[in-house]
């Protein structure tokens, strides 16, 4: 589904990603761990198409299509989703309208007519239940006045609405208490299917108790320094990163 080959990226001439290779297949959950400043969020942003980063070398294929040539919105319409570490507040745009606009753009791209009001409401209700979101959220401005946990739940809700093929979750667990963490994780687990995939970026092993990864990568200084099965996460939790960095 996703093939990252020799990816280099920099910001203001400072190289952040120094050659990344990752292959994600349909049905898989990958975790990317690493200390602060290792390039985890940069990788997520580059994959989603944020243009403040410059890709200097490498290739990213998403179901065979060259991702790097596309605008963020084109990537989204092809089925790529980024769950933000810091979701942005958009006062004046309600969650309902935001999602309706996004869904209809996606449908336009697939040559489908705009979603009907009844269909859309049904969809909203179902997907809000996935993350145990109160229906009053739908009329509120996107993320406006939401707590940290509510913002992250809103990310998972949006993911549920958009049904991406590949979801990249950037530190979705940061700032969550244990209940919110469980809700977010179970949301992800409910949405897992043989034909989609997840890349979960996290600092801590804690999230991976709930979302069990097939593959764990450790990213350090812009490079993947270790790739193994889920047991790697436990080892990192126990021993930290130093043994990997100094290896």
């Amino acid at each position: 589904m996703l093939e990252i080959k020799g990816l280099h990226a920099s910001i203001n001439d400072r190289e952040i990603l120094k050659g990344i290779d990752i292959t994600v297949k349909a049905g898989e959950v990958h975790a990317i761990m690493g200390p602060n400043g290792s390039g985890k969020s940069t990788l997520a942003s580059v994959l989603a198409g944020r243009d403040t980063f410059e890709v200097t070398a490498g290739e990213v294929l998403f179901n065979g299509t060259d991702l790097l040539e596309m605008d963020p919105e084109e990537r989204a319409r092809l089925g790529l989703f980024l769950g933000f570490q810091y979701p942005v507040e958009i006062p004046g745009v309600s969650n309902v309208n935001f999602m309706k606009t996004a869904i209809n753009e996606q449908r336009k791209f697939r040559n489908l007519p705009p979603v009907t009001a009844a269909e859309f409401l049904k969809m909203m209700r179902e997907k809000m239940a996935v993350v145990e979101m109160d229906s009053s959220f739908s009329s509120r401005g996107v993320n406006v006045g939401f707590s940290g946990g509510e913002k992250k739940r809103n990310e998972i809700f949006q993911m549920a609405m958009l049904e991406p093929k590949l979801a990249i979750l950037d530190e979705t667990d940061s700032g969550l208490d244990i209940d919110a963490l469980r809700i977010v994780a179970s949301g992800v687990n409910k949405l897992k299917r043989p034909d989609n995939a997840f890349v979960v970026i996290t600092h801590y092993q804690r999230l991976l108790d709930y979302i069990v990864p097939d593959v764990v990568h450790v990213l350090y200084d812009g490079r993947i320094i270790k790739t193994e099965g889920k047991e790697l996460a436990l080892e990192v939790e126990k021993r930290g990163y130093d043994w990997l960095i100094n290896a």
């Binding site: 944020r50 605008d71 919105e73 319409r77 942005v88 745009v93």
Partner: protein, 346 residues
């Protein structure tokens, strides 16, 4: 349209009629500064004032249920520079909602100067929206003098869409204890448009409240000037006075100038002022685009979000919705007119 009362009169050519009046609105027309037809009502009246302009009175103790909409338009029947004054009295403990619209119906180069003297009497509550939508070669200078008596509340929301040079000067005197004045404005300027906002907020007595929130979106080589002064007199203790001017610059050549000023002679007050100029938020745009929303739409949503809080200050729900729609079509680069109406009131 059946639920709307018209002040439509035969002298006014049919084209001047607003085709899509808001529900619960009573309309009056001022053509090139002349009130076309007086309105007499137990609760309020609109009469000619000194030949041009109008005398507008809301009677003491009356609550006017309808929104009183005064549509002031320039057209080719008089293209000279005009200068006129109006007098407005909101009687004791009255309550009313007024919408003042300024439009142009022909492309002549108009110059309009207007002075409105407003007295908000004891305990009155007045909401005023000023909708400015003239063609982009027409200039309008509006000066509003407001005296606010004890316990009176007045709020003016300026929504400025089109016009060449638009000057709004507001001089407020908070004269009685507990008087409240709120001034808000949203201006959307592009091309070579210029807007000048000049506010003088005088807190003369204790325990009054004032707030100012002016926000603008400036594109191309548009310019916005904001000069706001709050003066708190020596005896005006327990004053609360706030002022904010924020501009969103869409192009490199748009300019915003802000001069916030505070003059405080009392020692027990809460006052603040703030002025910012910024550009579209890259992170916010990326967030929306990452959900599949095209960049142009994302920019539009962010601009709408920027002026959202000013529009939300408009109390009348129908009017608020109408103005949200007008602002949206303005931002989409369309000429501002109401949905379902083919007439350009500007």
């Amino acid at each position: 349209m059946t639920d709307t009362k018209y002040t439509y009169t035969p002298e006014i050519p049919e084209v001047f009629r607003c085709r899509v009046p808001l529900p619960g609105t009573l309309q009056a027309f001022v053509n090139n500064g002349v009130l076309r037809e007086p309105v007499e009502n137990p609760s309020f009246s609109l009469r000619p004032y000194a030949g041009m302009g109008m005398e507008f009175r809301v009677e003491p103790g009356h609550k006017v249920e309808d929104t009183i909409q005064v549509i002031s338009f320039r057209d080719s029947s008089d293209t000279s520079d005009i200068d006129f004054s109006s007098r407005v009295t909101f009687g004791k403990e009255s309550s009313s909602s007024t919408l003042l619209c300024t439009h142009t119906l022909s492309l002549d180069k108009f110059n309009t100067q207007e002075v409105i003297d407003i007295r908000a009497e004891y305990g009155s509550r007045s909401h005023i929206a000023v909708m400015q939508n003239e063609h982009n070669d027409s200039s309008h200078k509006l000066k509003i003098n407001i005296s606010v008596e004890e316990g009176a509340f007045i709020r003016i929301n300026f929504i400025t869409l089109h016009g060449a040079l638009l000057e709004n000067e507001v001089i407020v005197k908070l004269e009685g204890k507990g008087a409240v004045c709120e001034l808000n404005g949203a201006y959307l300027m592009d091309g070579a448009q210029v807007i000048k906002t000049n506010v003088m907020m005088n807190h003369l007595v204790p325990e009054c409240y004032s707030s100012q929130l002016f926000k603008g979106i400036l594109d191309d080589s548009a310019k916005a000037y904001f000069s706001g002064r709050i003066v708190v007199a020596k005896d005006a203790q327990k004053t609360q006075a706030y002022q904010a001017n924020h501009n969103l610059l869409i192009s490199e050549t748009a300019k915003a100038y802000a001069q916030p000023q505070l003059e405080i002679y009392a020692d027990d007050v809460k006052c603040s002022h703030g002025a910012t100029s910024g550009r579209l938020d890259e992170m916010g745009l990326f967030y929306m685009r990452s959900r599949g929303i095209p960049v142009a739409e994302a920019k539009l949503l962010q601009q709408l979000a920027f002026v959202y809080d000013v529009l939300e200050k408009i109390e009348n729900e129908h009017l608020r919705q109408r103005l949200h729609d007008l602002v949206e079509s303005r931002l989409r680069g369309e000429f501002g007119h109401c949905a379902n109406c083919s007439m350009n009131c500007c």
